[in-house]
Every structure is written in C-alpha cells, then in structure tokens.
C-alpha cells in the first residue's frame, strides 16, 4: 500500500482544472483521473470534490452538461472553459514559482545564509 498524502489547502481546484483540461469528465471520472495521474499518492475526500466542482462552475472556469457514461447511464460531464484554461495556466505558473521559492528556501544550508 503506497503512502497517501493529504491534499494541500487550495490545490484541489487546480487538480480539477488539470483533470478536465484533458477532456470532459464526470465527477467520479475526475476522481479516478486524479488518482491515475498521481499514481494514487493523493487522497481526495470524495465529499469535498462536489462543492469544489460547484464553486468552479459558479465562477465560470468549468461548465457542465448531462451526457451518457461509458456504461450507458446519465452522468454530468464537466468541461474546461476558455477562462478556465487561462486560469489553469496562471495557476500553474504561480505554483511553479512558489515551489521554486519554497524549495530554494528549504534547501538552503546554514553556511549559505
């Protein structure tokens, strides 16, 4: 059993945007996709996924429509909007800058200060 990490505050939104950027997905699909990309190293509270989806939709980053799932059942599919794409890009850049800075700080050795 591989070790799972708790999700950092605020990163769930980013992950959802990333997951949907690869194609329309339903809620459960997003969960699976994130699990797949992270190789199950991240645990997402299933209950917190949906409020995040509704919030993102309300903000206009993603939109939803009803469609048919792979096993012929009605499911709600989420798709990234143009605004969402820009948002993902901006968030990704911000995240990268942030991790660089944080990593730089953490790697600093006493003699370098």
């Amino acid at each position: 059993m591989s070790k799972q990490m708790d999700l950092l505050q605020g990163t769930l939104d980013m992950l959802i945007l990333k997951a949907t950027s690869l194609g329309p997905l339903h809620g459960y699909g997003i969960l699976l996709r994130i699990g797949q990309i992270s190789k199950d190293r991240l645990e997402i509270q299933q209950g917190s996924l949906y409020p995040a989806l509704y919030r993102l939709e309300h903000q206009g980053w993603i939109t939803s429509e009803w469609g048919e799932s792979e096993n012929k059942r009605r499911a709600k599919y989420y798709r990234l909007t143009a605004a969402g794409k820009r948002r993902l890009q901006a968030e990704t850049e911000k995240w990268n800058r942030m991790t660089d800075v944080i990593a730089g700080i953490l790697e600093t050795r006493p003699e370098e200060v």
């Binding site: 459960y28 309300h58 903000q59």
Partner: protein
C-alpha cells in the same frame, strides 16, 4: 460573461431550487453507484459494495449543503428561508399577525395618504416648462394704511414701468379676471375669462394645441377681439371641432375670433378650486388712459426669471425700481414696494404649514405603530426563547438570529404596507373630497410612482424600526439561562420587560403629544364657531347676479336693472328682506379705497387712509341683520342727485372720530370724487374676508344708487350679490328667486347660489379639515397606545399568576392584587405623560399658525388631554388586572 454565469447560477439557485437539488441528487447517486460498480467488479457483493461506497463518500447531506453554498447564493437562500419561516409563524398566530399588520397598515396608510397630498401639492413641479423660474409679482402696500396686508394687486402704469425697467426677467405679463357670456350657440353660458397682456403664453412656454397664442400688438385697443379656448370648453361647448380656429363666436354680445385652443393639461392661473379654473383667455387691451393709471391696483402679474437669475437678484432690482417710482410719483407710489414670490410659494404658501404639521403627525403615528409592533413581537418572542436557545446551542450565529428576527418584522411591515396602500387609497379620496375647493392642484393627488416608492421605503423603515429591539433581544439569548428554565414559562426576563416598558412609555408620550395638538385645534375651531361674524347667517341665501361687463354703459341703467330685480323679489312670498352688495362678507373679494376726511389737511393719494368700501342697496342691512348702531341705514331716498350718504362700521367710526359722533361727518372717496358724502349711520363690524381675521376692518358702505363712473375711467357694468332673508328654508327659496331674476332680464346669469351658513362653514373648512385629520391621527395614536398598554399588562399578569396566587394565599386582599397590576400600568402612563407634556410644550409652537383664540400652551387642553389619556390607560390595565384579581390561589399555585 462570468457575471452572466453567476447571475444564471443564482437564478437557478433561487427559482429552480428543486431542479438544482434533483440534479445534485442524481449526480451524487451516480458517483456512489459508479464506485460500487467498481467494487462489484473486484468481487465485493453488491449490497456490501453500495454500503462501502457510501461510507467512502462521507457525509452526503453536508456535501449537498456545501454545494448549494458554493453557488454563492446562500445569503439569498437564507433570506428566502427566513421569509418562508416568518410566513409560517405568522400564519400560525393569526391574532398576533392581524394586530401587528393592522397597526402598521394604519400607520403606513396615514403616511401614504398625507404624503400623496404633500407630493401633489408641495413637491410635484408645477405644470409648466422650468416652473421654478416663474414668479408672481405683487405690490407691497404701505403698512400704515394697509395694516397686515403683505401683497396687493398691481396698477397698470407701475406694471408697465416694471416691465420696461427690469433686466432680471425674460418676460412679464399682467392679467385680470372677468366673466363673459357666450350666446348664439345653444344656451347662453357664462365663462371665466382671463385677460392677459401679450406675453403670457410665451412666459409660460405654453404652446396651444390648435392655432396660436397672442402675439405682440394684440393687446392694443381695437385688436383685442380674439380669444383662446381651454381644452375643456372646446370639447364640451364646441364638440372638439378641429376647424374652430378662425371662427367667430359671440361673447358679451360682441364678436370674438377664436385664434387657438390650449391642451388638456394647460391651466393658468392655477386655481385652488378646480371649479373656478380659467376657461378662456383674451388680450388685456389697455387704452392710453388705462395705461396711465397708477393709483388703481387691480392686476396680478406673472414673470419668468432669465436663466441664471435668482429670485433674490430680481427682488433687489424691483426694490430699486420701486424706490425710484416712489420718488417720481410720490402722490401715488409713496410707500409702495414690490415683491417677487416663486409661483409655487404663491400658490401653496397658505396650506404648507398645515400639510407639514399633518405629515409630522402621521410620522408620530407610525412611530407609535412601530413601538406597538415591537412590543407584540417581544412578547411573542418570549414564548420562543427556548427555540432560540436551541438554535444558538446548535451553532446558529448571532447574525443569523438577528437577520431572522428582522425578516419577520419586515414581512409584517410589507404586509402592513400593502394593506396601508388600500387605506391610503380611500384616505386620499376622502381628503380630495373635503379639500377640493381649498387645496391647489387637489385634482392631481394620486398614488403615483413616487408615492408607491415612498410607501415601500417607509414600510421597510418601519419593519427595521419595529424589528430592531426584538432582534437584539433575540441575538442576546443566553443559552444556559433559557435552557435551564426547561419547557415551562419564563419567570424572569427583567431585561425584556424593561424594553417593553420603555416602548409603552414612548407610545404614551407620542400619543399624548398628538392628543394635545388635536385638542388645541379642536379648541381653536370651537372658538372660531363662537366668533360673531357681525351678521346673522341663518335663513339667508345669497346668489351672484352676474351682470356681464359691457351689458350697461351708464350707471343709471345698472341701477335701474337692480331696482327692478329687488322690487320683483320683494313681492315673492316668503321673502322677509332682500338687498345687494358687491362683495359678500367671507368671500375673497373686496375693494380697499383711499378716502379724504373733510376738515383734515389734504394729503397725497399714497398717504390717504384706506378703508374697505362696499356698495350696498337698501334692504341689505335687513337681509343680513347687520346691526345699526347709530343714525339710519341707506333707503330709497339715497339716489343719484341727492346728497351722498354712507354708512361706516363701528371700527371705522372709532378710528376716524374716536371722541365724537361720526354722524354728519363728511368725506370723499378717492375713486368716486364726484361729491363729498355724509356719514348717516354706523353699523356693526363684520368679518369681511375670513372668520379668523383678528383685525377689525374699517368698512364704508355706500348706496349703489349713487354709483358713478370711477375716477379716470369709463363706467363698466358689474355683477352684484343678492342676499335674501327668508322665512322658509333658504335653499328652497333659491330657485324661486333665481327664476324671478331671470324674468327681469333673461340675458343675465344667476350663479354661485349659497346660504350664508355655507359661506361660514366653507370659510372654516381648512381649519376643520386640519382638525379632523389631526384628531383622527390622535385617536389612532391613542388606540395603538392602549393596545400597547393592554398587551403589556396582560402579559405581565399572565406571567405573575403564580405570584398572585401566593399573595392571595398569604392573605392579600383582592383589591391589593388589583392595585398591584394597575399601579404598574399607571406608572408607565404617568412617566409617558410627563415626557409627552414636555414634548408638546416644545412642539406646540409649531402649530401656532393654525390656532385661533388659544395659546399653544393652553393649560386646559394639556390637562384635559393628559387626564383623558390616563382614564383610557386605566381602563386598558383594569381589564387584565381584574383577571389577576380573580386568580384562584389553588389553581395558580399548581400552575407551574
């Protein structure tokens, strides 16, 4: 786009709530089942798979709640929820709801009704282009000879000088009134005609519907046979004939060309009485002789300020010109000033104070209603303390509780506002009916958009005001305290009871203030009814015999006509006396004229004393029962060719001949200087213009049979008023008398038939109306205050049943218990009364202008109002107190 997105999601959140919830349900269901499916495929039995999937998902309901909140519409959701909850609680307590809504509806309705009057009369712009630039110009007569008269009509020569010498005005126009009889087109009919100098329509920026207005030069003599019709006359009398312009019509037996028709909304001058609106306009054509008249003041003047010129500037300019004219023409103009009054002030100056007082009164009523509702809500909230406590314990925030309490009173206030609009609708109808003849623009009073906005606004305000105290009480709920008391009744809530007492005290204070105000007005009206008008009104009917201008060309013809009329009428059975006067007492008309007393040094016209001059016929004194104090009345011997005879009023005799008899003294009328006239009799003083006039008017009566052409002008025939004293009911005589006049000359209309009693009553109608309204509002306030006291006392009695039982069981007499309860109510009333009296002392000065014969601090009124209030409060607390007295100790003690 994102905004659109958000709005759409709010919209769905609020109005398609169930749809959203269903979708969410389906989505989460799909999630769980998809997970379960996966588990089934990995070999878990189906039932177990579903259970595990649900467990993994976690709190399903919490997630749903969070999803809804994520939509960003939660505050709206909360509000809707509060409102729904509020509606439910209201439905469950119909008694409480009815009471609260009714109280608010009465308060809001009264406010709406009065505001709609204020809106139409004081706020809505006059129906002209840029009306705030329009001013009315008046003379200010010298105070020494015209005591107490601030505005006076204008003379032609002075008007022309003002017009040519001022720079402040875009235009200036003089106008006068007259009546013209239309013949040759169906029944003869008399119309109200305004004669205007040429600029009037352009000053008002008024465009005719058809044809044109008067152009420059049309007010020259010889060019004035033109007329502009009002829309109403055009439609009614000329069947709206579109080809009317250019046609000739016959007015006062002369041909006039119709040159234009005004639109339906045009009105000038605006009349306080819609039934006296102008119906036609013709050019005011002054001859050279007329234009030179500086001493006879008969015209009103309207003017439009140039853009950027303030009234003050124009006033300064007029002051300068008046000074110059006074120096140039001292004999006519010494002491005569000029004043520019904004048109609206000129129109509504008289009614503004009364309307503002009424507006103040209804605001007080609404405050009382709010206090009342706050009280009811507080009492009701006590029964819900437990519920509140449970909610706090479960994590409801203060803000949430506050919001919910406010939502409830807001809901009450909105319902009250809606019902209030219904009340206001009928109130406005009533007000218009009563005031139609006294209130300018009363026909425009309606519940328009502004009024509706006002109502919505004060409903919300009232909701907040009424909800504030209960809301803060709710938010202060002490969980432990409330829950400790278990399911039973609250036995202590000292804080809450203090708030309620405070509300009751303020209700009492406010309603006492209104009661005192109404009391002062009632006393005033009573005093006015005690005023002796100087004549005996009962059994007298009056009517105007409207001789048209130009009907007669010589005084003798007019005298002859009126003699025939009087002779004819005196033969009618039931007529005890009949006489004529040019202007009836208590009508707005009259004439002030300078006189010269023989034997006193001659002075310039401007320095001559002014007296009210009336023309009368023999029989007038008898018809009016005007007392003859000395000498004789005018009789059939006082005719042209005989020595001029005059009667003077007692006050005039005292003013001019304080230490000797006035009989036999001689004087000359400035405007009728043909002969000196001898004082032959002294009659009692009469209220000439209004019942509430405080200054006695020095009055001179001279016989119409000695009438001549006035100084410097040709004779113009005019109408007079007939006063008939009858044995029978005066109204029944009116038609008989009217027919008799018609027989003498069918071409002369008889109009304005009124009894003298009606004239007195009409003259008092504004006072009566203010009194009635303020009285009604005070009554309303008292009712609300009583309900407040009653509910507080009732509540405290039911709360203390247990205590009463113990007292009785321990040997207290029942009267002691009774007193205990009453004492509390009376204490509140006493404190409220003291505050109310203090407030009334401060505020009653505001209504001084509406009082007559009563001081604003009249002790009798104050004491009577306070005592009346106390008695009512006593009654209101006695009923619940009796209930307390009857408490059976056994029952009471078992109660808890």
């Amino acid at each position: 786009m994102r905004l659109l997105n958000r709005v759409r999601s709010w919209w769905r959140g609020i109005f398609q709530r169930s749809l959203v919830q269903n979708e969410m349900e389906a989505e989460l269901q799909f999630h769980v089942e998809a997970r379960a499916e996966e588990l089934v495929q990995s070999g878990v039995p189906r039932a177990e798979a579903l259970r595990r999937a649900r467990l993994e998902f976690g709190g399903m309901e919490g997630a749903k709640e969070e999803c809804l909140e994520a939509r960003g519409a939660s505050w709206l959701d909360n509000l809707m929820q509060d409102l729904r909850y509020g509606t439910r609680t209201m439905m469950r307590a119909p008694g409480f709801t009815t009471m609260a809504v009714l109280a608010l509806a009465l308060g809001i309705g009264a406010n709406t009704a009065i505001f709609s009057v204020v809106n139409a009369v004081l706020l809505r712009p006059l129906p002209y282009d840029q009306p705030d630039k329009l001013v009315q110009l008046w003379h200010v007569p010298p105070q020494a000879t015209f005591p107490g008269i601030a505005e006076f009509p204008v003379s032609p020569a002075n008007f022309l000088d003002w017009r040519s010498q001022t720079q402040s005005f875009e235009g200036m126009s003089a106008y006068g009134r007259g009546s013209y009889t239309l013949t040759g087109n169906g029944e003869p009919e008399t119309f109200r005609m305004i004669a205007v100098t040429d600029g009037m329509f352009s000053i008002l920026h008024a465009r005719p519907l058809l044809g044109r207005g008067f152009v420059s030069g049309e007010d020259e003599p010889g060019h004035e046979q033109e007329v502009v019709l009002s829309y109403g006359v055009w439609r009614r009398r000329f069947a709206g004939n579109p080809d009317i312009v250019g046609k000739n019509i016959t007015l006062n037996a002369r041909a006039f060309t119709v040159i234009g028709v005004m639109g339906p909304d045009f009105e000038f001058p605006i009349s306080t009485d819609p039934s006296l609106q102008a119906q036609m306009w013709k050019p005011l054509a002054w001859s050279d002789q007329d234009r030179a008249v500086r001493d006879n003041h008969n015209y009103a003047v309207v003017a439009r300020l140039k853009p950027g010129v303030a009234v003050k500037q124009a006033q300064n300019e007029l002051d300068g010109i008046s000074n110059r004219l006074a120096q140039e023409y001292p004999s006519e103009n010494k002491g005569w000033g000029a004043i520019a009054v904004p048109l609206r002030d000129d129109l509504v100056g008289d009614v503004r104070p009364a309307l503002l007082i009424l507006l103040g009164a209804v605001v007080l009523v609404l405050l009382i209603a709010c206090a009342n509702v706050a009280n009811l809500v507080l009492v009701k909230a006590l029964t819900r303390r437990k519920e509140q406590a449970v909610r706090v314990a479960l994590g409801a925030t203060r803000r949430r509780l506050l919001q919910q309490a406010l939502a409830e009173t807001l809901l009450l206030a909105l319902a009250g506002g809606a019902l209030g609009l219904v009340f206001a609708h009928y109130g406005v109808i009533l007000i218009v009916k009563f005031l139609a003849q006294r209130l300018p623009r009363s026909s425009e009073i309606s519940l328009d958009g502004w009024v509706l906005a006002f109502t919505a606004g004060i409903s919300l305000l009232a909701g907040f005001a009424a909800g504030l105290a209960p809301a803060f009480r709710a938010a202060k709920t002490d969980v432990n305290e409330a829950l400790k008391q278990g399911l039973g009744r609250a036995t202590s809530d000292s804080g809450g009871s203090r708030t309620r007492d405070l509300l009751v005290v303020s209700e009492v204070a406010l309603s006492l203030m209104l009661l005192i105000g109404a009391g002062l007005l009632i006393r005033s009206l009573w005093m006015l009814h005690q005023v002796n008008p100087g004549f005996e009104a009962a059994q007298v009917v009056t009517m105007e015999v409207a001789v048209p201008i130009g009907k007669f060309t010589e005084p003798a013809q007019q005298i002859g006509y009126f003699n025939r009329v009087l002779d004819r009428i005196r033969t009618l059975p039931g007529v005890q006396a009949a006489g004529l006067i040019d202007s009836l007492p208590l009508s707005d008309n009259g004439s002030m004229q300078p006189i010269a007393v023989e034997g006193r040094p001659p002075v310039a016209m401007a320095d001559m004393p002014e007296v009210d001059v009336r023309l009368i016929s023999p029989g007038y004194l008898g018809a009016m029962h005007l007392p003859l104090l000395e000498g004789r009345g005018v009789d059939d011997s006082d005719v042209a060719g005989r020595p001029g005879a005059v009667l003077i009023s007692e006050s005039m005799a005292k003013l001019f001949w304080p230490n000797e008899s006035a009989i036999g003294k001689r004087l000359t009328l400035y405007f009728f200087p043909d002969q000196p006239r001898v004082v032959v009799g002294i009659v009692g003083d009469v209220k000439l213009y209004a019942v509430n006039e405080t200054q006695r008017k020095a009055t001179l009566y001279f016989p119409v049979a000695q009438l001549t052409a006035p100084r410097g002008a040709a004779f113009q025939s005019f109408g007079m008023n007939l006063a008939v004293r009858t044995g029978a009911a005066p109204v029944n005589m009116a038609s008989t008398v009217g027919l008799a006049i018609h027989e003498v000359d069918p071409g002369i209309p008889v109009q304005n038939v009124r009894t003298m009693d009606e004239m007195i009553s009409e003259s008092l109608s504004p006072q009566r109306f203010t009194m009635l309204l303020l009285g009604a509002f005070a009554g309303l306030a008292l009712l609300l205050a009583v309900v407040g006291i009653y509910s507080v006392t009732s509540y405290s009695v039911s709360r203390r049943t247990n205590e009463m039982g113990i007292r009785v069981a321990l040997g207290a007499r029942r009267t002691d218990v009774l007193m205990l309860v009453i004492r509390h109510g009376m204490m509140l009333a006493l404190i409220g009364s003291v505050i109310g009296i203090a407030g009334a002392l401060l505020l009653s000065r505001v209504i001084r202008s509406q009082l007559f014969g009563v001081q604003p601090t009249d002790p009798a009124t104050f004491v009577a109002a306070a005592c009346g209030l106390m008695i009512v409060v006593l009654a209101a607390s006695y009923i619940p107190a009796r209930r307390a007295m009857r408490v059976d100790p056994m029952v009471a003690l078992r109660y808890e």
